[in-house]
């Protein structure tokens, strides 16, 4: 427990800081309908860093940072200028083009300097787990200054107007945004920063009208989702960034599902409930039909229920099937153990005790392979037994599933 705390408190702090600034920026991004602008600006910053690297500036030096900044500012000018350029193309299209061209351009440059690919990765794939106190000390003052500046200028930013002044305000926004995103992407990676930007803000907009309330909701949601993501990634042994992104996504889904209950009133709630029931009914009817048509094929619903409830898989097998199944399972596990033991022995012999000669290594390898094949054979037996049991019960289980599905259907009372 203390280990987990020791390892996770700095990343959690980083997540709070990132939520703090990005939930606010996210509200602006949603209002302006420029959802993917952070990806484009981060990629532009990476392109700048790559150019700096090609010109001989070492990784994460002042020179490299200056090039990133100049590229980002140039892109900010471009974005500000194109907002009302023609009025015919949505700006999101231009943002997308900026993103792909910057990404492709960086790849072309890297072709000529392979070490640079590591560089691009470093700019774009931060790992929130390895956030250090010094990283936070560098970004927190920056974010506070930019956050305050954006807050002070909020009236202007909401309605920049036309002409040179409008362009200047737009440029100011994109420049601030670019500077923030460049630093946060290096901390947490592109995917996670995108989640910080869009999801808390989206939940805030969903549940409140005023900016203050939206922000408060966004911050609370972002903090809770970050904490849940970090804890889950520790408990389930998953990479933190990807786990957090998925938890953020699930949070948005939950918020969306809860919306009719919290906000919609009786009628909307009823409609949502009917939709959920109809979805569940369709799933059951389709699964029942699929079981009758192809009992030996993958049965996603049955498979996942059996995975979740361990005893269920054997409940519809007859006695001899259960025996064969348990036997195969036992041997599969045993072969796995044997293979691991042998492998362990070989790895240990590399530095401890008597060294194995090539002949012995080859023998171990062929044993490992045989164990692997045998384990696969047992797994095949398990699948086969299950498929046969399913084929046997399909004319009973299939109609039952369909019937339950039909009962679930939200029939309209006339």
């Amino acid at each position: 427990m203390t280990e987990a705390l020791n390892l996770l408190w700095l990343p959690f702090l980083a997540a709070l800081v990132l939520t703090g600034i990005h939930a606010y920026l996210g509200l602006q991004v949603l209002a302006r309908n420029i959802i993917f602008v952070d990806l484009a600006l981060a990629q532009i910053a990476a392109l700048g860093a790559t150019v700096a690297f090609m010109l001989g500036h070492p990784v994460s030096s002042a020179g490299s940072y200056a090039y990133s900044l100049i590229f980002t500012l140039a892109a900010a000018m471009l974005l500000a200028a194109t907002r009302t350029w023609s009025g015919r193309i949505p700006q999101e299209a231009l943002i997308g083009v900026l993103y792909v061209v910057a990404a492709a351009g960086a790849f072309l440059l890297v072709e000529k300097a392979p070490q640079g690919s590591e560089h691009i990765k470093q700019v774009l794939t931060g790992n929130i787990l390895t956030t250090g106190a010094e990283d936070l000390a560098a970004v927190i003052p920056l974010y506070i200054v930019i956050g305050l500046a954006l807050w002070a200028a909020r009236a202007r930013l909401a309605d920049p107007g036309g002409g040179w002044r409008g362009w200047a305000w737009d440029f100011f926004f994109y420049a601030c945004f670019g500077v923030v995103v460049t630093s946060s992407v290096a901390l947490a990676g592109v995917l996670l920063v995108f989640s910080f930007l869009i999801i808390p803000a989206a939940v805030g907009v969903l549940y409140a009208k005023g900016v203050g309330r939206q922000l408060a909701i966004g911050w609370a949601v972002g903090a809770a989702a970050s904490l849940a993501g970090l804890v889950l990634s520790y408990a389930w042994d998953f990479p933190s960034g990807s786990t957090m992104v998925c938890v953020f996504g699930a949070t948005l889904a939950l918020a969306g599902l809860a919306w009719p209950i919290v906000r919609g009133g009786r009628r909307k709630f009823d409609r949502a409930a009917r939709a959920v029931r109809a979805g569940a009914a369709a799933l059951l009817v389709l699964s029942g039909t699929w079981l009758m048509i192809a009992p030996r094929a993958d049965q996603p619903l049955l498979d996942s229920v059996e995975y979740a409830v361990p005893g269920l898989g054997v409940s519809y097998m007859n006695e001899s099937e259960i025996e064969v199944y348990r036997d195969a399972d036992h041997y599969a596990k045993r072969y796995q153990r044997e293979a691991e033991r042998l492998n362990e022995k070989e790895v240990r012999s590399r530095w401890q005790g008597e060294a194995l000669d090539d002949q012995q290594v080859r023998r171990i390898s062929s044993f490992l392979q045989s164990y692997n094949e045998m384990r696969k054979g047992e797994e095949f037996v398990k699948r086969e037994v299950r498929a046969r049991a399913r084929a046997r019960i399909r004319w009973l289980a299939g109609p039952v599933l369909i019937l339950v599905g039909l009962l679930l259907l939200p029939w309209r009372r006339r």
Binding site: E3, A4, N6, L7, L8, P11, P114, Q115, S117, E118, K121, Q122, T125, G126, N127, L129, T130, G132, L230, S233, Y234, A235, W236, D237, F238, P239, S240, G241, S242, A339, N343, E346, V347, S349, R350, W351, Q352, A355, D358, Q359, V361, R362, S365, L368, Q369, N372, E373
Partner: protein, 302 residues
């Protein structure tokens, strides 16, 4: 007598033809390591090119249009095998040179006859040839395996250029002599590192560890390309503390961040090692690759 004279004349002509035709035999190798070994056997009679640039993971390499041209006029195609350079199959198929494809006279899988380590599953590559289940592909990092690899290359060279077989054989023996002289130096240098627990970024070092009796106790990224989970990092930190791990081994193209993070928490030192020729400027060829690694590791152990 006349016949004998005539025969002698013919033989002289053939010899002259063989030495006169100075056009070197073209070889394409997938990696710089195989290129270096092929040059060691082929000497001045061969021109070797490699496909994967230094510091690029051959697993992830995407062939370029130029690679097709390189392969097209090659006599020999050397590959690492063991699913390390799977993309080569498609490339060779597109080159319209049947002799360079699996089983052809110019096709050389250098993993042939190597005692592979870390064999787990079965290979993903197309079946045929020797099916040995994919193992750890970094077998060139055991200098003793160079004897086997150069043997396989020699056999292929002799098959495709029989007139110069003797020359290739001599070159290979000279190389092996230099290798065994160097080997003693490397072993001596690495005696202090023997058995001392180390952490590596990725499991590239199985063969190197086996030859020089090194103990890689854990890996930062056990599944390539998937960043480590917090519980994995916590386990590593625990292991580094309990086993007193002092050195973290990393290749130049592998991310520095997590290695630095672990080093910062435990006080371990990071050692930059090259798993391939060209990964660092000092590793110019196969022999200097091991010179550099032995030196770097010995320094980190101090």
């Amino acid at each position: 007598m006349k016949q004998l004279l005539y025969g002698g004349f013919l033989a002289a002509l053939v010899c002259a033809g063989a030495t006169e035709a100075q056009e070197p035999l073209r070889i394409v190798a997938t990696t710089a390591d195989l290129k270096s070994l092929a040059e060691a056997v082929g000497g001045r009679r061969v021109a070797v090119a490699s496909i994967v640039p230094p510091n690029v993971d051959a697993h992830e390499y995407q062939p370029k249009p130029q690679d097709l041209n390189r392969i097209r006029d090659a006599t020999l195609l050397l590959r690492v095998g063991v699913d390390y350079d799977l993309w080569l199959d498609k490339l060779a198929a597109r080159a319209k040179r049947p002799e360079l494809r699996r089983g052809g006279a110019g096709y050389v899988d250098c993993s042939f006859a190597i005692a592979l380590l870390d064999v787990r599953g079965s290979r993903v590559g197309p079946a045929g040839g020797h099916v040995h289940g994919s193992g750890n592909p970094h077998y060139w990092l055991d200098p003793s395996n160079a004897e086997i690899i150069t043997g396989v290359i020699l056999e292929a060279l002799a098959r495709n250029d029989p007139a110069n077989a003797k020359y290739y054989e001599g070159e290979r023996l000279r190389f092996l002599e230099r290798l065994s002289a160097k080997m003693r130096g490397w072993e001596q240098k690495l005696v202090p590192a023997q058995g001392k627990p180390m952490i590596a970024y990725h499991n590239n070092w199985a063969y190197y560890a086996r030859r020089f009796r090194l103990n890689f106790a854990g890996y930062i990224e056990p599944r390539p390309g998937i960043p480590p989970s917090p519980s994995h990092l916590a386990g590593l930190l625990k292991l580094m503390e309990s086993q007193q791990v002092k050195v973290i081994v990393r290749q130049p193209h592998e991310p520095a961040k997590i290695a630095e993070f672990l080093a910062g928490k435990t006080g371990a030192k990071a050692a930059l090692l090259a798993a391939s020729v060209g990964a660092v400027p000092q590793a110019k060829d196969y022999l200097s690759l091991f010179d550099y690694n032995a030196e770097a590791l010995a320094n980190a152990m101090k």
